[in-house]
Point group: C2
């Protein structure tokens, strides 16, 4: 491959932003948040142009982080800490226990700041800096705060992180370490989101709340591109995704659609399984009631702090993607997560976040019921490292 | 590149083991530990044969973990959790503070189990399984225990981890999670090492103590190969390495020698800087006294648990490599580490282990003194994630 060809591959093909509900278009070269109709905007690319260089073969020369997918990401010099390209581990011993011969764990805990949140924040902070933002603010249920604080630090920007007062201590500590301003509220992430919305104009904050700005989902969609690349151009049959805000699930489905439009996959899609906690399961409740949007889940409580999102903004997108992919939604208890975390650790050497452990429980259920066939290729997403949940695991493993 | 050529690259060229001191040779197809003269054995390869396929260009097709360097690693189906290929972050903001334009952080915290120890254990457990071991035992100052426990779990083998009673709680918890047997002793890693040595024969343990088996250093040397690959075939001018047992430093120097023998680099070498804690600095003391071996360091104490190695077995190798590379050795205080950890986090978004933060202190010292020129390419090794040192950082960041 000649050097000029290689250079050409690194340019973005971003055209515009489009409302995910009403289809209204927005200028991507300006700061944009929600559509006037109140729904999230999604980034649109010239995929015909992108397809010229977006090939398994050309990707081999690219940087070993998510910015390797430059054609289908917003441009600009990336704010990068080496996010993405996480291991896809063939979990043979766990697979034997679950009854699946082709079970894989995508270990997102090996991202900077220890979670998949790094992907979204790398993209969001990159764009925010380019668009002239000075101070970034976001609510968080846990890991997103640390990721925003880290990328803001790397970009030399101020960050304000608003979190529930009972967020795990590792999440508070990391935000302080990265020099962010931490605001603790007695409430849930939904209350924290309101706080950001109410104060951002007066304080001059750029609101990085997930789906309220259009680029975090772009960073997260690279999980889908990576599966395609790591499975050598194929997609798995089933994906289990721990679903709080659900943006990772939305992002992956967007990636698969883009891959199809570029001619890299056909119409086949992985069946998407949204995994939630019994103590906060708005998507599962809506799914079981055959609804197209979710109700606010009252008294949300679970040790899987990332799943404690009682009113996800992307509810309609998530539910529609579960339907379209012939997927499903499953709720599991905290106790089941703790047991499954121990199983995953002792069989595969992966210390997962409780959110990741939840997918193991769900896999047992759906393999046991026959919903998954034993030969199917199945991916469990461990969205974060277990080391940030030391308090929870300590109790579980000493018991 | 044709398919057969690709397959050929994945075979090991391991020939034998050789004593690092007296040169005596040993059969690599048998379980081996120390030489009869008491010194560590090192793996030797047919590097002429390895050189045929070991090229920057052919490496592009390889798995994205350390097993991509198959020609110069022991063979066998690897026990892998996706170790290696960690980010090399250009630390521009920290570089401006230190006065170095080409300052990089190699972030080993993004390895499985959150530290560079994963590299050594992936190689050691792979070999131990192949050689028929049933139960693996090792002393640890902190992160090595978790790494051994994780790889043993992935391999379906038993593990016994012997650690000082005051090892950080995250290290105890992870070993329990991975299903290992944990033995806590009132003492230091040297006492734990004695415990393993005294009990291994009776208990039937395979001793995985660093340098007492020849393959952990093989896994760790891949840090040197990665620098060569990430700098596109060049080596940096200076490497700062937090030195407890010092096996990472020994391994990298071994990698550079192998690269030269394969014709991939010339005689030039990075100047190696061993960074230790004031409270446990046997190498620094020996270096400053121009000695070729180190004395046992009494009353070893530091928050950087990985540096709490009062009598490293590889002392002579480390000191000889510092000399040969025209490097040096620097000791820093715990308080300096904590300050530097905050600087690294707030300028670069990297929450390091105190061991990694120690290299920032040392870089300030040696850039300030003129020992490093402002244009030189300098790499700081962050050997582990800061999330496993929550207790230490929490206090530091709240102060």
């Amino acid at each position: 491959m000649s050097q000029p060809a290689r250079v050409a591959t690194t340019s973005s093909n971003l055209i515009e932003l489009e409302c995910s509900a009403c289809g209204k278009k927005y200028d991507a070269s300006q700061e944009q948040h929600l559509c006037t109709c109140g729904k999230p905007l999604l980034a649109r690319y010239d995929l015909k142009r992108a397809a010229r260089t977006f090939l398994l073969e050309t990707l081999k020369d690219r940087p070993r982080n998510l910015w390797r997918y430059a054609e289908v990401l917003p441009g600009d010099p990336p704010v990068s800490l080496g996010e993405g390209m996480t291991p896809l581990v063939h979990a043979k011993r766990l697979g034997a226990s679950v009854g699946l011969g082709n079970l894989y764990v995508k270990d997102e805990g090996l991202n900077p700041t220890g979670s998949f949140k790094a992907r979204g924040m790398s993209a969001a902070v990159t764009r925010a800096r380019q668009l002239g933002a000075k101070a970034l603010a976001a609510p968080t249920a846990g890991n997103a705060g640390g990721a925003l604080a880290a990328y803001a630090a790397a970009a030399g920007m101020a960050a304000v992180i608003v979190m529930p007062a009972d967020t795990p201590s590792a999440n508070v500590m990391e935000c302080q370490a990265f020099g962010a301003k931490v605001v603790k509220l007695n409430g849930l992430i939904s209350d924290c989101g309101k706080f950001v919305a109410e104060n951002k104009d007066r304080e001059g904050w750029y609101d990085v709340s997930t789906l309220k700005e259009p680029y975090r989902v772009e960073g997260k969609k690279t999980m889908g591109y990576e599966l395609w690349e790591q499975f050598a151009g194929k997609l798995p049959h089933v994906i289990f995704y721990p679903t709080g805000g659900g943006v990772g699930l939305i992002g992956m489905c967007k990636a698969f659609d883009e891959l199809e439009q570029m001619g890299r996959v056909g119409a086949e899609r992985p069946r998407m399984v949204a995994v939630q906690a019994e103590g906060c399961a708005p998507i599962v409740k809506a799914w079981e009631a055959h609804q197209s949007s979710a109700q606010f889940f009252p008294n949300a409580a679970t040790i899987a702090s990332g799943l404690r999102v009682p009113g996800p903004l992307g509810d309609q997108l998530i539910l529609s993607m579960l339907r379209q992919s012939r997927g499903t939604a499953v709720a599991v208890t905290d106790n089941e997560m703790l047991h499954a975390g121990r199983e995953l650790a002792s069989l595969e050497g992966i210390l997962a976040a409780p959110e990741g452990a939840a997918t193991v429980v769900a896999a047992h259920i759906l393999a046991g019921s026959g919903w998954i066939k034993p030969h199917e290729t199945v991916v469990l997403f461990n969205t974060g490292t277990g080391y940030k949940y030391s308090e929870a695991w300590q109790k579980a493993f000493e018991a």
